[in-house]
């Protein structure tokens, strides 16, 4: 089985979000970058399939050379090969087009992305890629079991879980549940040493065209300070929620 995991590289979850002075770009000063958490759940699941079914796991990102340390980390976690499509990603559609080009050349049985990236929260690349490749797609995927070329997946729906089955090839957008937080693989020294020898291919972009662009960013408006209510005066809280906030 040939698996591709699509990786987005995002600011660490504890980052303070700031923008450049013209509000046009995210300010990367002092920011630590990580594998997008939703993608990392998928990567870990792929490594399990590699261990159990001898699957090949390639990872790919669309980005500039600054992405490479994170790609090495994915190799240290256990991926066989890393691919970097050499361009600054413009929007979800353009990224999906770049990935489509790769997937039309290299045949993957299973393509794993994340439900959304925690930076732009577009939630669109895996679904667009699936549609471009005319492959079935399961989003919000919280369980994936493969038997030969038959797959059982679970998808989180509003207020429940849907279990579905289909044949490979398949594209999924994963999230927590695919593996647990405690299952995430922390690279060990052996993995890190091996990662140095593993292939990291840089392939040229097809210069796909975007359908959207970010005009500017806005920080959140400053928060009014909290109104404290005495713990022995619950009536006052209810009065505030009713007459002032008008939510009950």
């Amino acid at each position: 089985m040939n698996i591709l995991v699509c990786i987005s590289i995002v600011p660490d979850t504890t980052s303070k979000i700031k923008f450049t002075q013209d509000q046009k770009k995210f300010d990367i000063n002092g920011i630590q970058f990580i594998i997008n958490p939703n993608d990392e759940f998928g990567l870990t699941r792929a490594i399990w399939l590699q261990q159990k079914h001898q699957a090949n796991v390639d990872i790919v990102t669309v980005g500039l050379s600054s992405c490479e340390p994170i790609l090495r980390k994915c190799l240290a976690i256990g991926a066989n090969k890393a691919i970097r499509i050499d361009t600054d990603p413009l929007d979800g559609f353009a990224v999906a087009k770049e990935l489509k080009e790769l997937c039309s050349k290299e045949k993957y049985d299973l393509i794993i992305g994340g439900r959304e990236s925690i930076d732009y929260n577009g939630g669109m690349v895996p679904g667009m890629l699936a549609q471009m490749l005319q492959m079935p797609f399961v989003t919000n995927c919280i369980s994936l079991e493969v038997k030969d070329d038959f797959v059982i997946t679970k998808r989180e729906i509003d207020g429940g879980i849907e279990t579905t089955s289909c044949s490979l090839p398949l594209v999924i957008a994963g999230q927590k549940g695919l593996v647990e937080e405690t299952d995430l693989i922390i690279p060990n020294m052996r993995g890190i040493m091996q990662a140095r020898q593993k292939p990291l291919e840089v392939i040229p972009s097809i210069k796909s065209v975007s359908k959207s662009e970010i005009h500017k960013f806005e920080e959140l408006p400053p928060k009014k300070s909290v109104k404290l209510v005495d713990k022995d005066n619950i009536d006052q809280l209810i009065e505030l929620l009713h007459s002032e906030a008008k939510v009950i």
């Binding site: 549609q131 797609f137 729906i157 289909c166 959140l220 909290v226």
Partner: protein
């Protein structure tokens, strides 16, 4: 040219988020001076949509469409958008609508923006405001295609009644077997889902153990609220993952969010930031949640929450 809104239903019944998105699309269609068309698939109450202002409702019926499947739903809505020359397709932010959007975008060669939080800032070029960095910021995005798609965040616009004499057209539709087969659906019966809820009551480690969850349950049932929890609580297995809200869990955009015994880590606050009013109950006055909340009570959850539940019940019945 027209605006097309997808009026999603669940087991034949419309949800509040559907009425909200139809109301939103009505205002956008007025601003664009275009007709508003609503698509409805296998609804048992299609006529109710006319309370929110569409000019035309197209209903599709086929028993094979009772369950949402991506390929069939996507081709019905894309075909309709093409034949009605839609300039804009408006969707809600439910699990199924967000599933649908990327596929529609490819079919229609359309620009797509999710998490849209208000009426477009401008129509030429089409500029929308959306939340990003998991509710830690906003961005203004320009959509550049001839047809564009937006997913409107829940509770960001509200439901606005606007009775119209909508023409209802019923269409029979042929359905193909989807490549993905639905084996089963497990819905927690009776419980309100976080996505649909106006009010969410959430518990954290401060509750000391799963056996104390009756505090959250009682308050939630008094308010008709959905239940949620913080990440450590779901990691420890006290509550199911489906209740975990935060940056890597579910986003919450309710009108009222009540946090009990949750300290307010930055990742948690990011996930609930879109909620309108936040109330925190915590015995630690230094808990970061007090900086993010609108109202707060410093006190022991085991003492405050039962009192709050009782007072609320009395308030509701009066």
């Amino acid at each position: 040219m027209s605006v097309l809104v997808y009026a999603e239903n669940q087991s034949g019944k419309f949800k509040k988020s559907t009425y909200e998105v139809v109301s939103y699309a009505r205002e956008v269609a007025d601003k664009l001076k275009q007709k508003l068309i609503a698509d409805s698939i296998n609804s048992k109450e299609t006529n109710l949509l006319s309370n929110y202002g569409p000019d035309k409702i197209i209903e599709y019926n086929n028993p094979l469409l009772n369950d949402f499947t991506l390929q069939n739903y996507s081709s019905i809505i894309s075909d309709c958008a093409k034949s009605e020359c839609a300039s804009l397709v408006v969707l809600s932010s439910t699990a199924d609508s967000k599933y649908l959007a990327p596929s529609l975008s490819v079919n229609l060669d359309a620009g797509l923006a999710s998490n849209v939080v208000s009426i477009p800032e401008s129509f030429s070029p089409l500029t929308i405001r959306r939340s990003c960095f998991t509710n830690k910021a906003f961005n203004l995005t320009i959509l550049k295609s001839e047809t564009n798609i937006i997913c409107v965040s829940n509770n960001s616009y509200g439901v606005k009644e606007n009775k119209s004499k909508a023409e209802i057209i019923s269409k029979k539709i042929a359905v193909n077997q989807d490549k993905i087969k639905i084996e089963s659906k497990n819905k927690s019966s009776g419980a309100i889902s976080i996505a649909d809820a106006d009010i969410v009551v959430s518990g954290g480690r401060g509750l000391k153990g799963p056996e104390n969850w009756y505090l959250v349950e009682n308050l939630a049932s008094a308010l008709g609220a959905a239940m949620a929890c913080s990440k450590p609580v779901s990691d420890m297995g006290w509550r199911p993952h489906s209740e975990h809200v935060g940056q890597t869990g579910k986003p919450v955009a309710s009108n009222l969010y009540i946090a009990i015994g949750i300290s307010g880590a930055i990742q948690h606050l990011a996930g609930i930031n879109a909620s309108k009013v936040k109330v925190v109950i915590n015995n630690d006055p230094e808990a970061p949640f007090f900086k993010a909340a609108d109202y707060g009570i410093v006190g022991d959850a085991f003492d405050v929450v039962p009192k709050l539940t009782e007072t609320l019940k009395a308030f509701k019945s009066s």
